[in-house]
C-alpha cells in the first residue's frame, strides 16, 4: 500500500491528517507486516481520525465496530434476522420443516455485523474497532479469534475466510487494560500530545484563517496547560476548537480578557478553570 514512511506521511497529509514520525512509521509497518494496529492514547489525539485517514488513502471502505459496555457477538459478528425468518416460516405453511430450515438459514436472512463484513468480499477495507477498552472482556476473545485467522464460522452456513485481509486499527483509551494475548497480536502505537511544531501545523491546516502569531500563542498556552495537574488536560480537539473560537471572536492577539472569556472552550471542569486561571495569572474569574 505504501512505498516508504515518507509516502505514508505525505499521503495522510493529503487527507488532512498530519502524522508524527512515530505514527507514520507504525502505519507503514502495520501494512508491511500485515498486523493489526493497536492505538492507545488520551481522548482527542486523533486515534479514530487516523483510521479514517488510512481508509481514505487506501481508497478502502471503512468498516467500524464501535465498542461499548454490553456489545456482543450479535452486534459485532452477525445475527439472524428473526423477524424476517418468522415471516418466511408463516408464509410457506405447507412445506416441511427441513425445507423451511435450509431456506431461513441462508444468506438472505443473515445480518452481517462489522467483523463479518470486514472479512467478506474482495474490496479493500479498513476495519476500525473503536474504543476497544469499553467492551467487556469476553468480546476480546472474539476479536482474538477473528484477528488470528481472519475467518468466521457461521454454523448454519459454514466458514467465511477473508480472501483479502482488512487493514485493522483498534483504539483504546486504556480505561481497562486489554489482555496480553490481544496486545501480542498487534503492533502497538501510543499517540500522545503532539510536539509544538506538529500542533502548529495541525492548527494551520484546520483553522487556516488564524494569524501566525496567534497560532503560536495558542499552542504555547495549550502546552502550559498540559504541564499543569488538571483533571482533564486539553487535547488536540480542544486546541482546534479554541483556535476556531478565537478566529470567530476576531481576536488578533491573546490577552487576559480573551483567554479568560474562552477558557471554558479548552477546560471542561470548573476547578480546572480556576486552577489554570491562577497559574496563568489571570485576575480572579
Amino acid at each position: 500500500m505504501f512505498s516508504s514512511v515518507d509516502d505514508v506521511s505525505a499521503r495522510l497529509a493529503e487527507t488532512g491528517y498530519l502524522a508524527s514520525p512515530a505514527v507514520a512509521t507504525t502505519v507503514f509497518l502495520a501494512d508491511r507486516l500485515g498486523k493489526p494496529l493497536l492505538v492507545e492514547g488520551p481522548a482527542g489525539v486523533g486515534k479514530t481520525e487516523l483510521a479514517k485517514a488510512v481508509a481514505q488513502v487506501a481508497d478502502a471502505r471503512l468498516v467500524r465496530l464501535q465498542c461499548y459496555e454490553g456489545v456482543d457477538e450479535s452486534r459485532a459478528l452477525y445475527e439472524w434476522n428473526h423477524a424476517k425468518q418468522l415471516l418466511r416460516i408463516s408464509a410457506g405453511r405447507d412445506e416441511s420443516w427441513d425445507e423451511a430450515r435450509t431456506d431461513i438459514f441462508s444468506e438472505e436472512f443473515l445480518l452481517p455485523r462489522p467483523l463479518l463484513t470486514a472479512i467478506r468480499g474482495d474490496d479493500p477495507k479498513v476495519l476500525l474497532i473503536d474504543e476497544t477498552d469499553k467492551a467487556d472482556v469476553e468480546v476480546e476473545g472474539l476479536l482474538l479469534e477473528v484477528l488470528s485467522d481472519f475467518q468466521v464460522t457461521v454454523p448454519e452456513l459454514g466458514t467465511v475466510t477473508a480472501t483479502r485481509r482488512p487493514f485493522v486499527v483498534l483504539t483504546s483509551n486504556a480505561s481497562r487494560e486489554l489482555s496480553e494475548a490481544l496486545r501480542r497480536r498487534c503492533l502497538f502505537l501510543h499517540i500522545g500530545f503532539p510536539e509544538e511544531e506538529l500542533e502548529r501545523r495541525i492548527v494551520r491546516l484546520k483553522v487556516p484563517g488564524l494569524s501566525e502569531a496567534l497560532t503560536e500563542s495558542v499552542v504555547r498556552v495549550i502546552g502550559a496547560l498540559r504541564a499543569m495537574d488538571l483533571r482533564k488536560v486539553p487535547s488536540v480537539a480542544e486546541t482546534i476548537d479554541w483556535a476556531r473560537t478565537l478566529l470567530a471572536l476576531g481576536a488578533d492577539t491573546l490577552d487576559e480578557t480573551v483567554v479568560r472569556d474562552s477558557l471554558g472552550v479548552i477546560l471542561k471542569h470548573q476547578d480546572d478553570i480556576q486552577k489554570a486561571a491562577a497559574k496563568l495569572d489571570l485576575d480572579a474569574l
Binding site: 512515530a22 512509521t25 507504525t26 502497538f188 496563568l280
Partner: protein, 454 residues
Amino acid sequence: MTTPAGVPERLTGLVGALRAHGVRVGTGETVDAARAVEALGLADRELLREGLAATLLHGTGHRTVFDPVFDLYFPRGIGAPGTGAADREELRDRLAEALAADDRALMARLAAEAVDGLGGYGSSPDSDGWSAYQTLDRLRPQTLLARVRTGVRERNGGGGPEFADRLLDDEIRRRIEAFRAMVGSEARRRVAERRDRDMLARRAVRPTADRVDFLFAGRDQLAELRRAAQPLARKLATRLAARRRRAARGTIDLRRTLRGSLSTGGVPMRPVLRRRRPVRPELVLLCDVSGSVSGFSDFTMLLVQALHDQFSKVRVFAFVNRIDEVTALLDHGTADPEGLSARIGAEATLTGWHGSSDYGVALGEFAERYGDAVGPRTTVFVLGDARTNQSDPNLPAVRRIAERARRVYWLNPEQRSQWGTGDSAAPAYAELVEMHECRTARQLSGLVGRLLPV
C-alpha cells in the same frame, strides 16, 4: 547509522536487556522486530526506534526503559564529537543560544561536546569513564534561565509584551530538563563504547517506576507512580473479584440440595452451594506520612482509595507524632493526587511539639480516640518504617488494636536487612503483627492482591 554490521546481535542484545528489565518479549515479537528493521532500513535512526518500539512493546509503561536501552544498542554515532576541547564558558554561551532557539538538534550536539569536555574522569583504563552528573555539575545549565529568557525576548524583536510570555520561564525549564536527559544518554553511550554494553544496559538504565524503591524514588518517579495508582487499582479489583468468586463458591449445602431433589424423585440432580454472606470487609489504614516514607504512604493511600468500592468501609488515618483521620481528604483527593500530601499537611493535625515521627504516641492516640474504628470485620494496615526516633514503641497499644481487629498487617518500605538497625522498632512490632517488606510498587501490588480481605 555508522555500523550496519551486527544488526542481529544488536537486536538480540536489545531484547535481552528489555527482558532483564521485566519487559515480556516473545520470539514472535523478535521476529517482527527483525522484519521491521528490514522494512525500514538503518538510514533513519528515529524511524528505527519507533519501529522497534511498535513491534517489541505492548504498552506505554515500558517506553521509559526502551528508549535508553535503544540508545545503547543503536547509538547515534561512535567516538567523541570531534571538536576541540570544550571551554566551559564558551559552551554555556552556545547552550544559552540553543535553548533560546529551542534547537533540539543543536542541543544534542552540545550535550555530546559537554560530556566529552567536562564529563571525563579517571586516567587508568579500568577506572575511567564519563559522568553525566559531573558534566551537569560543571556546566550548570539550570543557571542559564535568565540569560535564555533575555535571548528569547531579543529574538522576538522586543515587540510589546505577549500574553504567552508569562509561560516562558516554565518553557525554558522544560527545555533545560530535555537537555539534561540528553547529557544522561550521551554519557551512557560513551561508557558503553568502553564497557560491556549488556552489563550497562542492565545496570545504568533506570528501572521502571514500579521497581524503584519508594524510599529512593525521585520526584518524577513518584509522580509517575501516583498516576499509575488508578490503572493498578483496576487490575487489582479484577484480582480481588476473582478471589471473591472463588471464596463464594463455597461448600455444598446438603439440606438444601436434598430439598431441591424432591422434584427429581429424590435424586440430587443439582447441588446447592452454601452462600457466603455477601458482607464486604472493612479496612483501616494507619499511615506514617513523615518525610522519609511519605512517597510510600501517599501511593498506598491513593491505591486503597481507588479500591474503596471493594469494601463496605474504608477509613484512613495519618500520623507523624499525632494521628488524625484523613478519609474525607482522600475522597476528594482522587482528582488531584499530586496535591494529596499538601492537603493532608494543611488540614490534619499530625504533629504536636516536634516534627519527627513517634509511633508510640501516634498508635496510642489511635487506640484511645478511634478504638471504635476497629471491629471483628476490620482488617488494619499499618504503613511505615517503624523508626521511632528513640522513643517508646508502645507495644501495648498495638496489642490492643490487634486484639480487636480481624487481621493486622504492617507494610514496611525498608529493606528487611535494615529492620532493627538504629532506631527501628520493626522486630518488636513484627512479633505482634504480621510485617511485610514492601519496597516497590510491584511488591505492594502483589501484597495488596494477596492480603486484602475479600
